[in-house]
């Protein structure tokens, strides 16, 4: 894995150090992102002693804080206004933590309702009053979106169907439309992470209104039904980038990156065959001109112009996390690398930790 060999110890501040710094700076509750040492990103990580944390990372790649988590996390969602993030357990986990970044405290623990588990992703409404989480209804196997009332202390309001099985990433698109990647793969916690329906899986992209009404659903051609559509990123104008994971013949995969606009079909992005059969994350670059896609198994990251194909590529072991940053994107790897790319990008950093699948950009920072 290489973590033990990593050269840099990084500028990791313990939580105590972080708190001391905050106190010295007169940190107070209820501050917004801008009042902080400004983490530009958050990501789950595993430290070299095996402990799992959620880390705040500055634009330059410094660790601002590490908050312990009960188990391995997957992705986070940043509240659009408050200095607050929600980090979700890796599936089939049932916990999520609401973390107040002005104190580094876990403000609240959310638990998936009995009979549900999280899939690792969530999204806030644009006004920040609702949190939406992708969930599995364990016995029925149907995908659900859990709805939480943020103002009422993340009170559970209920859930609605995603229109598919195995929903994974969820985003808020333009006009507060929720976009859900229904990966199509049925799992059951009793069977671990075993895939139970590969022959019949039917992934889709679903657009839903915040009340759960299915506005539009789009799928691939039947001969590609084993391409699990799992990770998505959307532009302000509503162009969706989709990254897939292929469950069919490993040596004959279909295109792994697609785009979609409401009302049209999914369109393949050419020039991305080197991603292999497994895309870990997708993000639009700053300026929304290119899709960044990571392939941890192939050890490849690409920047793809939707029309012209790959315009940049890197060979990096276990590369997975990617998020937009001003001027480009930032990548993280399971070997501890933080790699900013694009205009104004600082140097590559290598820290003694394993970055988990997804790095989340804090929209108001920087």
């Amino acid at each position: 894995m290489g973590v033990g060999r990593s050269a840099g110890r990084g500028a990791r501040l313990g939580r105590r150090g972080f708190l001391a710094g905050l106190l010295a700076a007169g940190g107070a509750p209820q501050v917004g992102w801008a009042a902080l040492g400004m983490p530009a990103f958050v990501s789950g990580a595993r430290l070299s002693d095996g402990a799992t944390v959620i880390s705040g990372v500055s634009a330059a790649g410094d660790i601002l804080f590490d908050i312990p988590t009960p188990a391995r996390c997957h992705a986070g969602a940043a509240h659009p206004r408050r200095a607050e993030i929600v980090v979700f357990a890796r599936r089939p986990g049932t916990f999520a933590q609401v973390i107040a970044c002005e104190s580094g405290d876990v403000r609240q623990e959310l638990s998936a309702p009995l009979g549900h588990h999280f899939y690792g992703h969530g999204a806030f409404s644009s006004d920040g009053t609702r949190l939406f989480t992708t969930e599995n209804h364990i016995e029925g196997g149907g995908g659900r979106v859990g709805v939480w009332d943020v103002g009422a202390g993340y009170r559970r309001l209920g859930s609605f169907a995603t229109g598919g099985i195995g929903p994974h990433e969820i985003l808020r698109g333009p006009g507060d439309v929720l976009i859900v990647a229904n990966g199509g793969i049925r799992t059951h916690p009793d069977r671990g992470r075993e895939k139970l329906n590969l022959d019949t899986m039917a992934p889709s992209i679903a657009y839903l209104d915040p009340g759960g009404k299915l506005l539009e659903e789009v799928a691939l051609m039947p001969d590609m039904h084993q391409l699990s559509l799992r990770h998505i990123a959307v532009t302000q104008g509503g162009t969706l980038a989709v990254g897939g994971q292929w469950q069919g013949d490993p040596w004959d995969p279909p295109p792994m990156v697609w785009t979609h606009r409401r009302g049209g079909p999914l369109a393949p992005v050419a020039g991305a065959r080197s991603l292999g059969t497994y895309v870990g994350s997708v993000a639009w670059s700053d300026g929304e001109t290119a899709i960044a896609a990571t392939a941890p198994r192939a050890g490849v990251a690409l920047m793809l112009d939707p029309e012209a194909g790959a315009v940049w590529r890197a060979a990096m072991d276990d590369i997975c996390g990617v998020a937009p940053r001003p001027g480009g994107v930032l990548f993280t790897t399971g070997t501890g690398v933080v790699l900013p790319v694009g205009r104004g990008a600082g140097p590559r950093r290598e820290l003694a930790r394993q970055w988990d699948n997804h790095v989340t950009a804090i929209p108001c920072a920087g």
Binding site: G2, R91, D249, R273, S274, G299, A315, D317, G321
Partner: protein, 327 residues
């Protein structure tokens, strides 16, 4: 395929692999040497492709030129980095396996329509990769569909397109090679170039074992001889042998000329040589014929385990954190 699923004893494999386990301070992966091997293989591919494109489809030596160019491609087809990936170039040169039969569908449609794309190199270069490259030739060379003149024009369109791509490849390679040597561009980490070479080697061995040999083998109850690679032009076994030639040259540089690795390749080569009477693996349908192909497959799989256990730990490559996550 994991080694635990193989019938031979894992402990035996481990013992063999441990014999080749250079101490870290003695690590002498010859990256410049590996890149020189690849440079020579690219040049051979480009020269042979040029010669193929220069031949008329009814020239007496067309098949020989086709075989020479296809040989050269297979010997370097495992190199999955740098300019082989520009515009999905290596996938366009080598679109196989084709589980949905897209190559045949596409070529039959062109032939039925007498599509003018055959005389339009620019349009052809932008057409779907399934209808281009060496596996399109494998189908077309023995096809009887449509009329011979159009098939000949289409054959030339494919060979010219192959030669264009290999010329671009050779033109772009020196810059990429320099980046790999200096740790620039895509190779910012100290081991990135070595990891890319390691991945090419292990993935190439896996492809030969699982796809080139594994696809025709199918299962014992359902062997699939018609899935053999480039079967129509009789190249299935030849491609296995050529892939081993290319992989062995790379493995020799990455293992510092290790004798165990060389012996493992020699064994696979001998086993492939022993199959000369079954060039398209038709024998997989019989228990005896099947056994011989399986033994070759296991031999190739064993080389991969040896490389993984020998070189993998030196590179700090273990199971991966996100790689095996499945999310």
């Amino acid at each position: 395929m994991t080694h635990t699923s193989l019938p031979w004893g894992v402990s035996l494999v481990c013992a063999a692999a441990l014999a080749w386990f250079p101490a870290p301070q003695a690590a002498a992966q010859d990256i410049p040497g590996a890149l020189t091997v690849i440079t020579e293989q690219f040049d051979t591919l480009n020269d042979a492709s040029k010669a193929l494109a220069a031949a008329a489809c009814d020239a007496p030596d067309f098949r020989a030129r086709y075989d020479a160019a296809f040989d050269a491609f297979v010997a370097v087809s495992h190199v999955g980095f740098g300019p082989t990936q520009t515009d999905d170039r290596f996938f366009a040169l080598g679109f196989w396996p084709d589980t949905r039969g897209v190559t045949q569908k596409q070529l039959m449609a062109l032939i039925a329509a007498r599509d003018t794309i055959a005389d339009d190199p620019e349009r052809f270069a932008k057409s779907s990769i399934a209808g281009r490259g060496f596996y399109a030739l494998d189908w077309l060379i023995v096809a009887n569909d449509g009329d011979a003149d159009y098939r000949c024009a289409l054959t030339h369109a494919i060979t010219a397109d192959i030669a264009r791509m290999t010329a671009d490849l050779v033109a772009e390679w020196p810059d990429h090679r320099a980046e790999m040597l200096s740790g620039a561009g895509a190779y910012t980490g100290e081991d990135d170039a070595l990891r890319a070479l390691y991945t090419a080697l292990t993935t190439g061995l896996q492809f030969t074992a699982e796809a080139r040999l594994g696809r025709p083998l199918g299962t014992f109850d359902r062997p699939r001889p018609r899935r053999a690679e480039a079967r129509r032009t009789g190249r299935s076994l030849r491609n296995v042998a050529q892939s081993l030639v290319g992989l062995e040259a790379l493995a020799a540089t990455l293992s510092d000329g290790d004798a165990e690795v060389a012996a493992a390749f020699a064994e696979a080569r001998d086993l492939a040589g022993g199959l000369a009477d079954d060039p398209v693996f038709a024998g997989v349908a019989t228990p005896g014929g099947r056994f011989r192909v399986e033994v070759l497959q296991q031999s190739v799989a064993r080389i991969r385990v040896m490389i993984q256990q020998g070189l993998g730990p030196q590179l700090g490559i273990t199971e991966g954190f996100n790689r095996l996550d499945g999310d």
